[in-house]
């Protein structure tokens, strides 16, 4: 099989577009996180993100976040069309700064949890979830 010059050019364009796409997705999630943190760079530690290593059904993936002393926790899915998932603001009667829910994942991707602590600092945790059947039921 031989390619004409035009075909080769198209192939190259397609390949570079494919290479750029994941970068775009991660930029969207970085923007969403920056919006939540107000531009501050989140630190590490003090936050636990519990997600399955492999999720069979991307339509309902159980996720638990816990960050003792947090005022708010935001969840992001780096590979979804819209990276925001949920934000939990804890009131004075919150027993523990944790929440557990079920989310949709379009495909294998990183989940990011960012917590705003009472002193205004931010911490984050990140975990990859492999998805067998993608959500968003296409």
């Amino acid at each position: 099989m031989t390619f004409s010059r035009r075909q080769t050019l198209l192939l190259a364009l397609g390949a570079s577009a494919a290479a750029v796409l994941p970068f775009r997705a991660s930029a969207a999630v970085e923007d969403a996180i920056a919006e939540f943190t107000g531009g501050a760079t989140p630190g590490e530690g003090g936050i636990t993100l519990t997600a399955p290593e492999i999720a069979e059904n991307g339509n309902t993936v159980p996720i638990e976040v816990s960050a003792p002393g947090a005022a708010a926790i935001a969840l992001f899915a780096a590979g979804n069309p819209t990276p925001g998932v949920a934000t939990f603001n804890f009131g004075p009667l919150a027993g523990a700064h944790m929440a557990s829910t079920r989310i949709r994942l379009a495909g294998t991707q990183d989940i990011v949890a960012v917590a705003r602590m009472a002193d205004g600092s931010f911490v984050q945790a990140r975990q990859e979830v492999k998805v067998t059947i993608g959500g968003c039921g296409g």
Partner: protein, 109 residues
């Protein structure tokens, strides 16, 4: 207006003062994400529960905002401190303006 929206909440019936209890909530709702397409390839408009709050005797326990990435029939588990007997009020806010509420009493000994 989404049909057959039924909130379900599990709260212990009693607790001791200051105890931390686990609350599980679920509301039946399609959570149409705005990403899906129908048979003709047209995008189905988004219609989700966008906010959930839980209050106990007028004091806030949790105020959560939901994005379309939350699954159908949004489930939420969290923890609350119960200082005295009273009522939990759970509120869900729909994109279409509907507000669904559920109340649960708890006795503190």
């Amino acid at each position: 207006m989404a049909e057959n929206v039924t909130p379900r909440v599990r709260v212990p019936r009693d607790a001791s003062a200051g105890e931390v209890i686990t609350i599980k909530t679920l509301i039946s709702h399609p959570m149409e994400s705005g990403q899906r397409r129908d048979g003709d390839g047209n995008q189905i408009p988004r219609s989700i529960i966008n906010r959930f709050t839980c209050d106990f005797n007028g004091e806030n326990v949790l105020d959560a905002t939901f994005e379309p990435a939350i699954s159908t029939n949004p489930f939420l588990e969290f923890q609350a401190t119960v200082p005295e007997s009273g009522t939990f009020v759970f509120t869900w806010y729909d994109d279409d303006g509907s507000v669904y509420t559920e109340e649960k009493e708890i006795a503190v000994s």
